[in-house]
Symmetry: C2
């Protein structure tokens, strides 16, 4: 009898704190009866190549998004285009609620990272279904002709999780709400961007051009992965981002390494020396002033960080790595500091295509992540100053003969103009607390609250031009290969994502 009472008390506590709401179960029921339709539409969407520079296909994607919105009865569907010809448009729509006093904008982006098809097991734009993760024995199966889907299956394609999955979760959440007769309390607006992965170059212009249309109390950003533990996650800020493309020069043409080895400078070695010097053995960037502008975390943010479930051991196991690159910093601490990362590096050829040459050039792409306090252009300049200090003359073009004659060490630096700063929203705002309660109502596990995500989104422009707050609610599995080959989304994450978005649309 006593044990039974104890069990009941535990059960009640459990239910009180982390019960799944009736709404969530209603949405789940609707979705589970439409698995086939949801997936078919998603697959058709993923089949349209979506690299932001591929203008023709980006237009096809935008048209597809419009058509999905219109099919669901969303009003005022339209393209929001910037002035630059061929720049990807955002897709807008709205569902105004009688009597609603506040407005939420749901954001996702339909473009994806560039692809190297040779590195994909299946084509990046040929969506396939696997029974599990590709490198954990996942087997190819055809898409079922029924609603019988296993939640551990995964769809592989560019954009599956980053971020066409976000578009689908938002639209299918709205569909489930409408079709099951649920009544939102907020006006709902939809904003689907088309060049997030290309640095959202035109986002600021679009926001300025459509300021009145885009008025809202909060932007809910559906992008990025949930916590590595699998728990749902709300993120109140993003890192900023900036790029540098570096090319160093050796001889004007590739040389026979026998006839000229030891004598002609090798650009691969020059680049290696330059990059190697940028970080010390403890993983700290050695560039002067690199950490100087960092704005310290608030007390509330520090407290939230302490409550984030530690993921280091799990991720080390999963990724087959040892320890942190930045000695003494765990994963959560590391992403709250600015970073310098080599995205890619190349000089001549390796493997079977290698030949005995002194290469003519060597290139690397650097990615600088920023935290509040950093300015993206200032951060680029710190790296450029370091390179100059190493004796390089910086140019923005391939060197002419007279430049080669005049300067010993030449480097072409293309400082990407697609950078942006970090952004952070206070967790203490009433609307932020509403978001936390809504997401928590969909899951029996405690939702993880992160002051910032590791990833970057141009959220500062929303604050800058619309004076609106942003909160990011992610849905993808953390092991989604986002930005790399074989990107994927697990069915359970898509299903959960639909429930999460629906709860946010219904929040009090």
């Amino acid at each position: 009898m006593k044990r039974c009472t104890l069990f009941l008390i535990v059960l009640i506590q459990c239910c009180t704190v982390f019960a799944q709401s009736t709404q969530t179960l209603t949405v789940r029921s609707y979705r589970s009866q439409h698995n086939k339709a949801v997936t078919e539409e998603f697959v058709n969407f993923l089949s349209i190549p979506n690299v932001a520079s591929d203008t023709g296909n980006i237009q096809k994607n935008a048209a597809f998004v419009m058509q999905m919105m219109q099919k669901r009865g969303i009003a005022n569907v339209q393209l929001l285009s910037p002035g630059q010809a061929g720049a990807p448009p955002a897709v807008y729509g709205e569902a105004m609620v009688i009597g609603a006093r506040q407005t939420l904008i749901f954001y996702a982006h339909y473009d994806g990272q560039p692809v190297n098809p040779a590195q994909w097991k299946y084509g990046p734009f040929t969506p396939v279904l696997l029974t599990a993760r590709m490198d954990e024995g996942g087997m190819y199966i055809p898409f079922p002709g029924s609603n019988e889907y296993d939640s551990s299956w995964r769809i592989y394609a560019r954009g599956a999780s980053d971020d066409k999955g976000g578009v689908i979760a938002i639209l299918d959440a709205y569909e489930a709400i409408v079709k099951t007769g649920l009544q939102p309390k907020y006006n709902i607006k939809f904003f689907f961007e088309g060049e997030e992965e290309a640095g959202s170059t035109n986002l600021g212009e679009i926001l300025q051009k459509y300021t009145s249309l885009l008025q809202s109390d909060l932007w809910i950003i559906c992008d990025g992965p949930v916590h590595q533990s699998g728990k749902k996650q709300i993120t109140f800020g993003v890192r900023g981002d900036a790029h540098l493309d570096l090319t160093v020069y050796g001889p004007k043409r590739p040389l026979h390494s026998g006839h000229y080895g030891n004598w002609a400078p090798n650009p691969a070695l020059m680049l290696a020396k330059l990059l190697a010097g940028m970080k010390d053995e403890n993983g700290r960037v050695t560039i002067k002033g690199f950490y100087d502008d960092v704005q310290p975390l608030s007390a509330a943010e520090k407290k939230a960080l302490l409550e984030v479930p530690p993921a280091d051991a799990q991720m080390e196991e999963e990724l087959g790595i040892q320890g942190s690159e930045m000695k003494g910093k765990n994963l959560t601490a590391a992403i709250n500091l600015p970073s310098l990362n080599i995205n890619g590096m190349q000089s001549a050829n390796i493997g079977k295509m290698a030949s005995n040459v002194i290469p003519a050039t060597a290139s690397a792409v650097l990615d600088l992540r920023l935290v509040p306090g950093n300015d993206w252009q200032r951060q680029q300049q710190k790296v450029i100053a370091y390179i100059k200090q190493k004796g390089y003359t910086v140019i923005d073009h391939d060197p002419a003969d007279d430049e080669r004659k005049q300067y010993g060490r030449l480097i072409k630096i293309v400082a990407g103009d697609d950078g942006y700063n970090a952004q952070r929203t206070s967790m203490d705002l009433p609307i932020a607390q509403n978001v936390i309660r809504a997401v928590q109502s969909t899951t029996a596990e405690k939702v993880v609250l992160q002051p910032t995500m590791g990833g970057s989104l141009p959220l500062y422009v929303i604050e800058k031009y619309l004076h609106a707050k942003t909160i990011t609610v992610s849905i993808a599995n953390h092991d989604n290969n986002q930005h790399a080959e074989n990107e994927n989304i697990r069915m359970l994450n898509l299903w959960n994502g639909i429930e999460t978005m629906a709860a946010l649309m219904m929040m009090q």
Copy 2:
């Protein structure tokens, strides 16, 4: 009158020392009447892809070489095949001379370096004719239907100069001799190898298998470029060569650089640090014992080096570089020391294909050139010892999960088994002096004598298995893009090469 006498004296001295022989003019006359035929056959030969691992095409090349030899009446033409199935055969033939007491073997190789077709302006196996060097305004023109060829034109294709050009020069020299009724004093044998660019793995076996067939007094190796000054060049040795393929490992899959940047180790940075440490700021290899085994140059070799026309200033101008990588060493001195060169380096992608990832791997290919005294495997081991000393655990396969857990820094090293040692023949041998006189008889400019070439050829196996001497007589233009994309030969170099080979066949 006095001035006239002085002029005559100068003229006589000139003629005495550096006259072109009648033989040379005879060969030239024959060749100039056959430019069209020579070129057509060469183009057909260059059109057959010749990467040593491409078994089917290598066989086609070998058959083409046999057919060219038979057409010229060369006797006993046959393939010399090693035991390994599919390994490229050498092609042999002979022209025995009644009364000859000595035998020369003429060597060239018909295989070429691997190609990356994307890097070629025209296809590597689609020979084209340009009016000058591609990067100096050379224009595409169709091959003429007559014998009217300009000596500054160039043929572009893999193998044009390295070393199908050598095969053609030898065979057309022989044809000119026979057709113009000249009488060689030596027996002439022909040996055309098919896997020189793949490290001549089976050459030793072929030499052992056909020892009696291959008896000779001297091998004349027709490979490599003439001196950068354009002067003809005889080389008495070659550098050895050995390779190492390195791959370092980061996370098991490419990671989003935002979510994991600063935390997950970046293999591109790890590789950069490893490579950067291998040479100091003066271009000297820092690896322990790297220069220890070097056998000092003899007095005669040191003297010959002093007489080599300095090419540094010309090459710096031509290649758009400043100074020597190895501070204080000119080009001639640099190639007389062992070298360590990065042939290629890659991690993830650069340029438009770059994405915001922490790459999963980073790779480099190293090329070690050797001089007499070095042992190729010992040289590889010195580099491997250095890498171990930097805290890496060396494996010969992609790491398994338990290896990733056990070791912090893992590197896969494939120590190429295609290495070989350097070789040098004394300039003082009577037959070496004959070679010098023969080549000098074809040109009005002083022939350059080099103790060693920068390039590598597996000549030590000839010494080892046949106890034969070797001397290298090169014909290609120095700016031939050998081993790289857009390889080419200048018509003048091919024409001069035919004359040089003919003079050697006729030497006293």
